[in-house]
Amino acid sequence: MLEIKGLVKSYGSKEVLHGIDLEVRDGEIFGFIGPNGAGKSTTLKCLSGILPFEKGDIKIGGYDILTNPMEAKRITAYLPDNPDIYENLTGIQFLNFVGDVFNVPSDVRTQRINDLSRELEIYENLGDQVSSYSHGMKQKLALISAFLHEPKFLVLDEPFVGLDPKAAFILKQKMKQLCERGSSVLFSSHVLEVVEKLCDRVGIMVAGEFRQIGATEDIIADQSLEQVFLELDKNETPLETH
């Protein structure tokens, strides 16, 4: 589903991604962990078409994000760590806007909005302006918009921040259901227990490079993900691929 080769990204003269390679397979949930400033969000923004990059190739579903951005974006949904949503629109106006952009038919859209908003318990707030929403409510609204077109590839940056336990549980269920239908999920998180339980494969990024990429059970072996992560963060080891 996702193929990144030799991705290099700089902010001014400072290189923050040093030629990373990454593959996310069809139907898998890929967890992306690393300390703050490691380059996780930057990577997610590059592959979502938000940030330009200097070198490398990014392909989503076979579509190059630079040469075929529309096709790549049509099958993708991206959710940032801090979803800033148009505050002068109401929740339903925002969802209709996203539905229009992804060409979701009216009846399908209405059904999905109805189901997801009731499940996430923000149905009654859809008529309110987004400016009145709490962080968690904005997160839920952004989640509904991300699932609205049933994306082939779901990219989530710290999706569990601000969500109540029930919403976090629903999100995990939705991610699994999406992958069962052949879609893929790539998400970054600092909640290592969730990553450990939910992900088929994991990538640990330190200082703009992957230190480890592989199946979750291979990386963990007889330790916990937390122990592996702390060890890697302490001793910067060369790349290992499982």
Partner: protein, 532 residues
Amino acid sequence: MKLLWKLIKIQLAGFLGASSNGTSRKKKPWPLWTRMLVPAAACIYLSVVYSTLYFDGIGGKMGDYSMYMIAFFAVMMTILGGLSMALGALYEFKDYDFLMSLPLTKTVIVASKLIAFYLMELLYSFFIIMPALFIFGIRYMMDPVYYILGVIGTLFFPMLPMVIACLIALLIRIVTAGKKHQKLFTNLITFAGLGVYMFVVFRMNMDAAASGMRSDFIDGVVKYIPTAGLFLSSILEPSVIKGLLAIAINLAALGLFVWWLSPRIISTNAKMRSAAYHDKNFRLKETKSNSTLMSLFKRELVKTFGNLFYLINMAMGQVMLVIVAVAMMIYRSDIEILISQIGAGYGVQVIALILMMVIIAAAFMAPVSSVSISLEGKYFWLLKSLPIHTEDVFFSKILVNFVIIAVPSGISWILSAIVFKMTAVTVLEGIAVVLLTAYLVSALGILINLLFPKLVWDREAVVIKQSMSSFVAVLLGLGLSAGMFVLYFAKLYTVEPGILTLALIGLLAVLVLAVTALLMTWGKKRFGRLSN
């Protein structure tokens, strides 16, 4: 004290806005004082232009009248600017949670807000009054006392208008708390305030034209804005007593206000955070789907028309155009006499051409799209991550600006065509000019904004009033309009107006094609590289 000064600096930085241009995350921020240069330069420019116009236009024994006009302008700028600042930064400040969580006393928080607010108000009033004061002083060879009283008095000048702005803002916040269209209501009141100001200025100019009305106006200033009247009397007479009285009134007004308001600022902010609008009976209905362009256009339209501050700053000329056209309809008989004096046919063609140029000039004063990409700000990630063609983004923004220009310009053109009994061909030519100009200004605005993007900001006012793209768009518009009139009246007035009209349409069409081509090539690439 050191902490208070640091807080004041932070608040001032907040008022003046972020300094990054949105494309470079590692760029060193500009020092605070340099960020004051832009609003200061704008005020100095306005003051020099207005005062020179007044002194040249009225001149003679009525020079002091011009000073009253400038003082009135400064008062209105302080009130209207203060209203917007008070609404966003005093009663609904974004750093409320952060500041309240710190071990700071409420007094320090409120003092830092009010002092920074006063300094901003002073920035506006000082740089509006000072150039006019010096131009007047040099022209009328005033004594040194005039300058001393003028400089000292100006330091206290914004206090009373600031209190008025704060009280109006407080009233608006209390009335609109928990209402659905809070922002719209707020902007309507601001818009109404500006309307009142324009009406008063119009009346004053009319009165100034008629001899003997001057004293009525000055009486009005003294009566309704006593400190402004006292301040001017003190420097013009000159009278130290009156100057001291003006300072005392200003200080008393601000002191009383601070004593009364300080405890209420914190409580009003706390209330604002718990009084959001909620649709109690929301029901999900079947919705009609739209194309991406239409959906973007609707979103842009809601955003633009929900923001009257944006419209006031960018599209006031279009409203004035319609007002002038309606006035022409009212004074139709006078205009018919004028036409009969000029002579039908050729005379009307000349008038039509000049009106077309007026429409073009007014359109260039409404470059709404020149900040529309910058205004995406923190929402820019949505446009970049969604499958939206760049040209759809461009055209949705162009279309909104096009509507804002084409509708009022079209109405004024049709009204003018009726008043001046234009031929069908001339009417069509005018419509072509309106449509081409509306598109040209809108597309040019996008190009300018792509050249000077400002995607990192904390208040929209920073983008609308202080960003490089808005400055360039307005200055370019002013330059092109002035150049057009100068060229016509200096060189081309002898050329047959029909030929000139066709040449104008041809030129506009060529420019439209050139700007569109640039937008679709360089513009698209540039947009792809933008990020915040």
